[in-house]
């Protein structure tokens, strides 16, 4: 991500009636028509921003059908899945943008050889970066969404809670701010720690640029397959599938188990063969050990494909199943104007 997207809200100038634009987090607002200067306040002490739902029902359903074909899902899923309902919903997220600065000091420990003691290499670092924190501000139930990444082309519109379906926000503004700023400071320290195994001193600061409650649109698509209920959540601006559940592919699972067992046996046999060919007892033992490790790796991979194979979990979904897709992190870094120092 090249830079932090700016959220702009349009208001009406009380002096001349002209359109006044305010960027996220700004409390000083100017009218470009009459040059009047205003202090912007909200009755709840936090700016609320809503994004326009760009994805139509047709586009959401079409993307959903594409998603059914992706990954090791049940083979006949696209043919036999029945959409029971598809509806848009807005989920609230806390969004905190600001600069994290940290000073971190400590040591990296390099393991010594047999006769040499461990080497302790001192390090110090300064981190100075911009971070974007986002965190879901409601209980989304089993939807599997924890954070958002706002695309550059997203269009902010004036907040109107009567026109949307959304969830209540139980957490206070102050608690959310404390959590967000603490997370950003922790991230700055983590970024400064890098290769340090022991940290002796660390101090972090957070400099706020913007804090808001963002209402972001999603499409929820609920569907059934062989009398079981599943769902998918699509981004209402990009149409990307953010999270969801889907039945797994039984054929793919049994193939994984069979191939894993066969391959691991073959690899182990090959290593033993090479060991025997070399003759020495140490070589046999070494190749046997390598063979065992390689076989264990293959079995582990096959087992992972097999054990939760009855369900595919997309995004940040919790529970048992084969996890796919990318989980959106709560903290993103804007690497533009980064001023770090690592010694």
């Amino acid at each position: 991500m090249s830079k932090t997207p700016k959220i702009i809200v349009s208001l009406t100038c009380p002096n001349c009636g002209g359109q006044v634009q305010s960027e996220e987090g700004e409390s000083l607002v100017l009218c470009k028509f009459c040059d009047s200067v205003f202090s912007l306040t909200t009755d709840e002490g936090i700016g609320k921003i809503m994004y326009r739902l760009d994805v139509t029902r047709e586009k959401a359903e079409a993307r959903f059908l594409e998603w059914l074909k992706e990954g090791p899902k049940a083979k006949d899923l696209e043919k036999n899945a029945q959409i029971s309902e598809a509806y848009p919903i807005y989920l609230p997220f806390w969004r905190l943008v600001g600069r994290g600065k940290a000073c971190v000091c400590g040591v990296e420990i390099k393991k010594g050889d047999k006769d040499e003691p461990d080497r302790r290499i001192p390090h110090e670092s300064l981190v100075n970066r911009e971070y974007i924190y986002s965190d879901i501000a409601c209980d989304p139930g089993d939807l599997g969404i924890a954070a958002i990444r706002i695309p550059d082309h997203a269009k902010a519109v004036e907040f109107d809670d009567e026109s949307i379906v959304t969830f209540g926000v139980p957490e206070s503004r102050d608690d959310a701010y404390s959590e967000g700023s603490a997370q950003i400071k922790l991230q700055a320290i983590k970024d400064g720690k890098r290769s340090m195994d022991e940290v002796y001193f660390s101090k972090a600061f957070f400099f706020e640029k913007a804090f808001s409650l963002v209402y972001y649109p999603f499409w929820i698509v609920r569907y059934t397959y062989e009398d079981r209920a599943y769902f998918a959540v699509l981004d209402g601006i990009t149409s990307q599938v953010i999270s969801g559940r889907a039945p797994g592919n039984a054929g793919s699972q049994s193939t994984a188990a069979a191939l894993g067992g066969t391959l691991s046996g073959a690899v182990l046999a090959a290593f033993i063969f090479f060991g025997l060919a070399l003759g020495a007892i140490e070589a046999i033992a070494l190749f046997f050990a390598f063979g065992l490790i390689a076989a264990a790796g293959i079995i582990g991979f096959a087992y992972n494909r097999f054990r939760y194979g009855d369900e595919i979990l997309e995004g940040a979904m919790k529970g048992k199943g084969l996890k796919r897709g990318r989980k959106q992190q709560c903290i993103e870094t804007n690497y533009e104007n980064t001023y770090d120092m690592f010694n």
Binding site: F38, E124, F201
Partner: protein, 201 residues
Amino acid sequence: MSIVLQPLKCLACGAPLKSKERDLMLICEHCGSLSLFADGKTSPVEFAIVKPTVEEKDPLWYVPFWVVNADVIVHREKISGGGISRAVTGQKQMRGTRDFYICAADAVPEEYARVWNMELTINQPEFTTIPEFKNGSRMVMTMEKDTAGNNAEFIFLRYEAEIPGTLQELDYDFIVKSAKVLYLPAYKKPTSYMLGVLNGK
């Protein structure tokens, strides 16, 4: 949720304030007095304008700085190596009461602001002040007062980390006593900025 736009007025004469730029230092068109926008309202602010000691043909700007006066008390510090370099260069420790300079204008690129902040904080220069923004323009101030204190503390940590040797431990108190605004002259060159004091560093 309702959004309220409250018109801001001059503290000295009560006239509505006007501005073409988002400047936290608001000047009254009627009486010329400056006030600071903070916490959703205007308030009086201590400020001074510094006379340039370097003359250039380039456009002159008066750049706002927060000057944070703070006590630095270091209880314990451990630095690994670098002792000889520190002794040879005679690098001073940043201790006791001093002014920390924090560039408060977004228009100055960070690469210049960082250098200026450190140079001014290390050198603790004395300036001659002037009553008005003579032959130059006032640059927009974007940094809030609350932010300046933490920035000052980070400058102290930066200094400690940048001196020769590797900082390992630091136990200190950083107590902010006051903060004021100082407009320092700077020349905007085609591809760079030059401070109009400190011999143009």
